[in-house]
């Protein structure tokens, strides 16, 4: 299997959350494998927009096309416009990577309804919006790759993480349901299950980082590229028969009792 079997030469990818570590890593890996990559932010913040533009410049230096849409992924109009623009610009849409991440943790009695709704909206509803917007071009092509990045908190619970855990689990089962819905339409829908990764929002606390590093079978956190690069495999033409699955990349975290 030469590297060419996995080549994404001239495919068109759309990456949500490219101003955040894992989304950025996925976007760069797809570009390295030959894809043109349209980038979006998760939220309309200057910090994310700056990071997404830096990612775009890295892709341009690899001689691949790239552009940035600074959007709020929970805004239906923003998402539709960005995807329509991508199809107009590039003539097609082959790969959709959803890597929005809004971390949040609090004891449940203190979680305001507005907070709960926002965490669900950014982490879960955004995936519904992008998949719905991408469905048009992908169903027309009868070919597409959708890759949703989820946290291992979608599979295991964590105290104080109720809203985030619920949202991540929602993305996992949305992935399975859509995989079945589009199984005969040439669109595969899979997830990358990210283990504890450097730069991840839920890891802001230094004590938690240190505890996890000791706890993990690998005794280290993942680097964002170790999560993002797997998108190349899932996006490649070798995976027509792989759908509805979660590709966990967790350093053994889920194996541990």
């Amino acid at each position: 299997m030469a590297g060419t079997a996995f080549s994404l030469h001239d495919k068109v990818a759309f990456v949500v959350g490219a101003g955040q570590p894992i989304g950025r890593a996925a976007a760069l890996a797809l570009a390295e494998a030959g894809a043109h990559v349209v980038l979006t932010t998760t939220l309309r913040t200057k910090r994310e927009a700056d990071a997404a533009h830096a990612c775009m410049n890295d892709i341009l230096t690899r001689q691949r096309k790239s552009s940035v849409h600074a959007i709020d992924v929970t805004n239906e109009q923003d998402v539709q416009t960005a995807i329509e623009h991508t199809v107009t610009q590039h003539g097609r849409l082959d790969i959709l990577v959803n890597a929005p991440d809004l971390p949040f943790a609090k004891p449940l009695p203190d979680v305001a309804l507005g907070e709960w709704q926002r965490v669900l909206a950014v982490n879960l509803t955004s995936v519904y919006l992008t998949c719905q917007a991408a469905a048009g071009p992908m169903l027309a092509q009868q070919k597409g790759r959708i890759i949703n990045v989820v946290s291992l908190l979608g599979e295991r619970g964590m105290a104080n993480g109720s809203a985030y855990c619920a949202a991540q689990a929602g993305v996992l089962n949305l992935t399975r349901a859509l995989a079945l819905e589009w199984a005969r339409s040439g669109i595969t829908v899979n997830a990358i299950g990210a283990g504890w990764t450097e730069g991840m929002g839920m890891l802001a606390d230094e004590t938690l980082r240190q505890q996890l590093t000791r706890y993990l079978p690998t005794k280290r956190l993942a680097q964002p590229y170790e999560i993002g690069e797997a998108a190349v495999y899932l996006a490649s033409d070798t995976t027509d028969f792989l759908t509805g699955q979660v590709l966990w990349i967790d350093g053994g975290a889920l194996s541990r009792l």
């Binding site: 299997m1 030469a2 590297g3 060419t4 079997a5 996995f6 080549s7 890996a29 390295e32 494998a33 030959g34 992935t175 399975r176 349901a177 995989a179 079945l180 819905e181 199984a183 005969r184 283990g195 993990l216 079978p217 690998t218 005794k219 993942a222 680097q223 170790e226 999560i227 690069e229 797997a230 190349v232 495999y233 490649s236 070798t238 995976t239 027509d240 028969f241 792989l242 759908t243 509805g244 699955q245 590709l247 966990w248 990349i249 967790d250 350093g251 053994g252 889920l254 194996s255 541990r256």
Partner: protein, 271 residues
């Protein structure tokens, strides 16, 4: 190094059990195409020779070692021969196995012999191979172990009692490997292939052309190799204890016999 270069296996050595035919041969050829030299192990010399010829046609080396994986002395000898020939190895794929022992029998009709030999070939053989390679991988400071399980290892079917049990055992054996050797830079993962009839008309008829598989067809022989290459490559360096199923979507659902739920609308006034 580009991400596509990381998917190359140049200079690496891979042992494939059950390499004489079917998916074992396909995976061995894919690893060879990605640059790895191969050790082809299985019981039947003639089939291994065919695999070896195909590997060599790709310009890679292939060591043929007829091996019964249920014989631990034979497994140890196979690993020793590999070290003697190549001086190293990087990848072990435990692919040998078989579902036929005790198949189509209820629990009360499975003989001691069928149960024991079935568990031996599907589970104990993988243990023997891992036991033999791990000291070398630890000395080397790296290694990848890929175990091949089955849909019957995560869900139960009718009439496959021994096989379901053995393949489930292999899954948790892999997690145990991950847990215990992760900090030695040895990654253990699982491939779960769906239905691959190898263009055999009889098998295709048996599986009804794969019409009950969500994607509407069974797997093609050349679809499994790339997954094996991915898991054996540096792209999978943080994967450990995890299972990747390549099976056309069946495991994602299986709850609705017709495939699609009928449309259910929200109540009046709830939209």
């Amino acid at each position: 190094m580009s991400v596509l270069d990381k998917l190359r296996l140049d200079g690496k050595v891979a042992i494939m059990t059950g390499a004489g035919r079917g998916l074992g041969r396909e995976m061995a050829l894919a690893l060879a195409e990605a640059g790895a030299d191969i050790v082809a192990a299985a019981r039947t010399q003639a089939q291994l020779d065919e695999t070896a010829a195909l590997v060599r046609a790709q310009g890679r080396r292939c060591l043929v070692i007829p091996t019964d994986v249920t014989d631990s002395a034979a497994v140890n000898a196979m690993v020793d021969a590999t070290i003697a020939e190549y001086g190293r190895f990087d990848i072990l794929v435990n692919n040998a196995g078989g579902a036929t022992r005790g198949m189509n029998r209820p629990v009360e009709a499975i003989t001691d012999e069928q149960w024991r030999t079935g568990i031996d070939v599907n589970l104990t053989g993988a243990f023997y191979c891992c036991r033999a390679v791990l000291p070398h991988m630890m000395r080397q400071g790296s290694g990848k172990i890929i175990n091949v399980t089955s849909g019957l290892g995560v869900r139960a079917g009718r009439n496959n009692i021994m096989y379901s049990t053995a393949k489930a055992g292999l899954i948790n054996f892999t997690r145990a490997l991950a847990m215990n050797y992760a900090d030695k830079n040895i990654q253990s993962t699982l491939i779960l292939p769906g239905i691959f009839p190898h263009d055999d008309p009889e098998l295709l008829a048996y599986w009804q052309g794969g019409k009950f598989i969500p994607v509407g067809r069974p797997g093609k022989d050349d679809e499994l190799g790339p997954l094996c290459v991915f898991l054996a490559s540096d792209l999978a360096n943080y994967m450990n204890g995890e299972l990747v199923a390549l099976e056309g979507g069946g495991l994602a659902g299986g709850q609705v016999p017709t495939g699609f739920a009928p449309v259910v609308l929200l109540p009046e006034g709830e939209q």
